[in-house]
């Protein structure tokens, strides 16, 4: 090399070249370039069809934008006005509270416990029984929500509903008398599959020897779950609770059953947003509530993280 600036071969033989490490930092030998290329399609779709409209939605949340009427022609930025309105809006507070109850009752407690219970019970069950149960539970999960709404009408209907037939409580309008409990039960029915599947694979990761040790020292079922199982599946509990809480908090299916009624008694936030946006045309307000819902989800996620990660 007679060129004045001689860089190339020397760099290759230097004693310590951290850059070498950067070339393959992963087992797959992807390298940064390919890794980026792999992530890119997903990222592009997400950016275009998710992040962009989501941010736009959040922007709308600080305007008084409406679908029709004068404010549609000339929307004004009103800053935190919508949020202040929301805080003073009894219907919003009602919805928020209902959403909390709905998520707590149907997801955090209902789906979690039933899903775990099923996974736990089915561990040692005969294969056919296991398959049958899992298939039924899964079926409830994969059926389209519109269909599922019809199914539950048939269960809870006032005249001729299955529940009334079974209990002999002719004429009880469950959806009107116990709207929240009804949609909670409904959502447990609908969503338990995910928890069950997740916990099934989680339980498979608990070393059987630890379970048996508990048995040998005479631990009860509850002691076993507390001392042996839970510490192992803590991460799964977290993932599961996060996901199902998020999905439940954003679930619109209750609307198909109760339309938020009677008298807002089952109007969870997504239903509230729907009614504000579509029935009231109040898009600015609805967007602001969406943001609040997002923040609430974030807070709840943070809470779970704290609760479940504390001891480790």
């Amino acid at each position: 090399m007679s060129t004045p600036v001689d860089l190339t071969p020397a760099a290759e033989s230097t004693v310590d070249t951290p850059s070498r490490r950067g070339r393959i930092a992963d087992v797959a030998g992807l390298g940064v370039g390919r890794a980026v290329a792999f992530v890119l399609p997903a990222l592009a779709l997400i950016a275009l069809f998710l992040v962009f409209p989501a941010l736009w939605t959040l922007y709308i949340g600080i305007t008084d934008y409406q679908l029709t009427g004068p404010a549609a022609a000339n929307p004004q930025v009103i800053g935190i006005g919508n949020f202040l309105t929301a805080l003073g809006d009894t219907l919003f507070r009602n919805s928020l509270w209902l959403t909390v109850l709905f998520v707590l009752g149907s997801a955090v407690i209902g789906q979690n416990l039933l899903g775990f219970g099923l996974a736990w019970l089915l561990r040692g069950a005969r294969p056919w029984l296991r398959r049958l149960t899992e298939s039924l539970v899964l079926l409830a999960w994969i059926l389209p929500s519109t269909v599922v709404a019809f199914l539950w009408f048939a269960v809870l209907d006032r005249d001729g509903g299955t529940l009334n037939l079974l209990l002999g409580t002719e004429g009880t309008a469950w959806l009107v008398r116990y709207p929240l409990i009804s949609i909670i039960l409904f959502n447990i029915w609908r969503g338990t599959a995910f928890s069950m599947l997740l916990y099934s694979s989680a339980l498979a990761a608990v070393p059987p020897s630890q379970l048996e040790t508990a048995k040998l020292v005479g631990a009860s079922g509850w002691q076993t779950v507390r001392d042996v199982v839970f510490p192992h599946i803590r991460g799964h509990v977290l993932t599961n609770t996060l996901l199902i809480s998020l999905w439940t908090a954003n679930d619109f299916t209750p609307f198909l059953l109760t339309a938020g009624g009677p008298n807002h008694a089952s109007e969870t936030l997504p239903v509230f947003i729907y009614r504000q946006a579509l029935e009231g045309g109040q898009l600015g307000y609805a967007s602001a509530i969406s943001l609040l819902l997002l923040v609430a989800n974030l807070v709840v996620a943070g809470l779970y993280l704290r609760l479940l990660r504390r001891r480790s």
Binding site: S209, Q210, E212, T213, L216, G218, A219, P231
Partner: protein, 361 residues
């Protein structure tokens, strides 16, 4: 402390596998007993049936004075150490050791006390606040032992307690375990597929195959007079040479060679038998020595103070010979291996040992 009595025990898995098959066994009080056998022979199942973790289909188990066949695992008075130790990863060593007391609702102080007293004898004193993940394999094993001891059980069951340790630790833990059992005097049943472990540790060994016991005896008995080809094959840190042979008068013909055979057996000339001789009981002699097998040295494996020499004999028969380090023959040379007197065993066509008289120890 208590002995264990097992009569006509069968354990069948739902898929139809008879993992324990009509088995009778008595284990004496305070004995260190090994269950040895190849993978899948039912060792673990037998141990778990004793512990109550598997339900037996027939037969009875008695521990001490109590029949426990249908008793819950937690109430049989047995403690068990699993192959992976099954330490609870989120508890400290002290909490792990005290866990049996916690389950019984005893106070934190009592838990702590048992942890301290038990761990002292197991050189775990300084480790009580650590978590299992911060311990070496050998330490984990000792914690598991301490927890089992803390249970105050009459019988200790160990399922391959050494197999998760690395080679070096395994040797140390072996000696340690042997001493501990001696000191506690607790009846101990110990599962392994490593014959060296079983020989080194046990007072008595049961060699299992397909859910049945094939031989029951002291390590010496099992090593020197394996009851069958199967046991012979299984015992010994270098595999026993098992060679097709034909009885010819007072000798047997093996791979073109004639070897002196044990007498007083129910065999006659021309019978096809299997001649068994351990590599350790063969001596290298100059080429062509009578009463020996000649062959070409094909590989030499260093065993430390000795080496395992593989001879390729007539008809491609491979014969292993253990030689002291200084006597290693060069690869490719031809040598003759001569059995030590009285060490050759004959097995009949079904593989059962043919010698009626015990060889003096």
């Amino acid at each position: 402390m208590a002995g264990i009595d097992i009569t006509a025990l069968s354990t069948v898995y739902p898929n139809g596998v008879r993992a324990v098959d009509d088995l009778d066994l008595h284990i004496a009080d305070g004995e260190f007993f090994a269950l040895l056998g190849p993978s899948g022979c039912g060792k673990t199942t037998l141990l778990r049936t004793i512990a109550g973790l598997e339900q037996s289909n027939a037969g009875t188990i008695t521990i001490g004075a109590n029949e426990v066949t249908a008793v819950d695992p937690g109430k049989r008075g047995v403690a068990m150490v699993f192959q992976d130790y099954a330490l609870l990863p989120h508890m400290t060593v002290a909490e792990n050791i005290g866990y049996p007391l916690r389950v019984r609702g005893q106070s934190k102080a009592a838990q702590r006390e048992i942890a301290e007293s038990t761990s002292a004898g197991l050189s775990l004193a300084g480790l009580l606040e650590r978590r299992p993940a911060q311990l070496s394999g050998g330490q984990q094993q000792r914690v598991a032992l301490a927890r089992a001891i803390a249970m105050g059980a009459e019988v200790l069951l160990l399922d391959e307690p050494l197999s998760n340790l690395d080679a070096r630790l395994r040797l140390e833990a072996r000696t340690f375990l042997k001493r501990l059992q001696r000191e506690l005097g607790i009846t101990t049943v110990f599962v392994t597929h490593d014959q060296a472990e079983a020989l080194a540790l046990a007072d008595r060994i049961a060699v299992m195959e397909s859910g049945r016991i094939r031989q029951l005896g002291s390590p010496r008995e099992v090593f020197q007079r394996p009851a069958s080809v199967f046991v012979a094959n299984f015992i010994g840190s270098t595999p026993m040479n098992l060679l097709d042979a034909v009885v010819v008068e007072d000798e047997v013909e093996v791979a073109d060679a004639r070897l002196g055979r044990p007498l007083g057996l129910a065999v006659s000339d021309g019978d096809k038998v299997t001649a068994g001789i351990r590599p350790e009981y063969l001596r290298l002699a100059p080429r062509g020595t009578a009463g020996g097998i000649s062959g070409v040295v094909s590989t030499v494996e260093n065993l430390g103070v000795s080496s395992l020499v593989s001879l390729e004999c007539a008809g491609g028969v491979l014969v292993g010979v253990t030689v002291p380090e200084q006597d290693e023959p060069p690869i490719g040379s031809t040598v003759t291996a001569v059995p030590e007197p009285g060490r050759l065993l004959l097995f009949d066509a079904e593989g059962s040992l043919l010698s009626p008289e015990p060889v003096p120890a």
